[in-house]
Symmetry: C2
Subunit: 277 residues, 2 copies
Amino acid sequence: MNLETLSSHRCHGGVQSFHRHASAETGTPMRFAVFTPPGAGPYPVVWFLAGLTCTEENFTVKAGAQRKAAELGLMLIAPDTSPRGEGVADDPAYDMGQGAGFYVDATQPPWAPHFRMRSYIERELPNIVGEVFPADLARQGIIGHSMGGHGALTIALRNPERFAAVSAFAPICSPMNCPWGEKALSGYLGPDRSAWREYDACALIEDGARVAELLVDQGEADPFLETQLKPELLEAACARAGIPLTLRRRPGYDHSYWFIQTFIDDHLRWHAERLKR
Amino acid sequence: MNLETLSSHRCHGGVQSFHRHASAETGTPMRFAVFTPPGAGPYPVVWFLAGLTCTEENFTVKAGAQRKAAELGLMLIAPDTSPRGEGVADDPAYDMGQGAGFYVDATQPPWAPHFRMRSYIERELPNIVGEVFPADLARQGIIGHSMGGHGALTIALRNPERFAAVSAFAPICSPMNCPWGEKALSGYLGPDRSAWREYDACALIEDGARVAELLVDQGEADPFLETQLKPELLEAACARAGIPLTLRRRPGYDHSYWFIQTFIDDHLRWHAERLKR
């Protein structure tokens, strides 16, 4: 385990730290951030998957989540959103390539060698976290924002036994049915849309995947609401499947971390209730 | 009044906005950030002055202050730390010039034409805020960090009638007695140290300036504690002058916004108590 600690800061009685390691899945150095709450571990873990253009820093710096996580005794893990570096394929647009991994295992050139964010988040990083940090991997929750909301929903739907709680802020609810998703999934996975279904929360639910319940907050002033996010598709899929979905439409809120910081405490409480035992 | 609103975001039931205007004092465009809490105004105002290298964004994005300010009904104003731009003098080092205005009115070349942060914060910006925003300027508090802590202390000591509360995180307590301060004050004000005294909290107190009380938090793992910040000098000056100083040394905390976000709620509560009427 070649885990490097880049920095470490006392925060709300716990520790906010930043780390780098050589990822076997992506074949690149990968960074992630960890908030370790005060008190004795092992701690239940809440993952936060970020959106397009983000790194491990956006949520960690901007969401103001540490205060409530300290109070609730939750460990927070924020991974980066893609492999990065000179030898890694990229696209000039912000919605493809570096910073836009879409939490898939790519099968198509030029992406396939490094863009393995699904396996990185589902397998490699949890193993590292379990080895190195006082994390109780029997108690995990996952939250995501936008592209990361899509990541959180699909990873939880494919791994319901791993997550006692899943929630999202302004998630891309059905990448198969929006421009961001169609571009990314066709690029990373090729033209066969049947291969896309395991990366689409609504399709996964249609195909039988289940979680106990879902919490989603969505700003009504979000500029991506109608064209990219489409919570009504998730609403319909959950209704048909009988999955209890708490979808809160928030008047006046946009797509930013100003929106996330407003409701993050609610989400952390919701996770903590479901991670207690 | 040519005030431009650069962006505006709903946050914790209030509004976080960013603004730009042509400053008469600095002769440059200046930016500042405003958090307007929910509920009916006019609101008491708490100023936050940031440290070296910072802009109006650092506190606004990193301190997580909006949640508590919304709860307490406080308006938060975060100015930039210096004039900026191509026609503005600068220094290759981070601790002089752009991003390092030190809250002085410079008298020396090449700084004098634009580096007028004292007059900007003491006179120009409050007038703009009072004209444009629902701010109750009869109820003002001021907080600062590092160089901005020096700014908050000196501005409050020179204008005790304006501020009902003043506090600081890891302030430069005596710029006349540390390398950052000696470089900045000699550069901006020239070699005559008697001209520096109105920009040194400890010298101001020694010369008779008074505030009702002071609150200071200081991390014990702050790498600048011994060489630059020197809270013991403020402690001694306050003791001699009979100014009640609450100085809390926080084991393990460093100089960062991880430290500030941990204790900002305390400071806002402290200000709110003193701004009520």
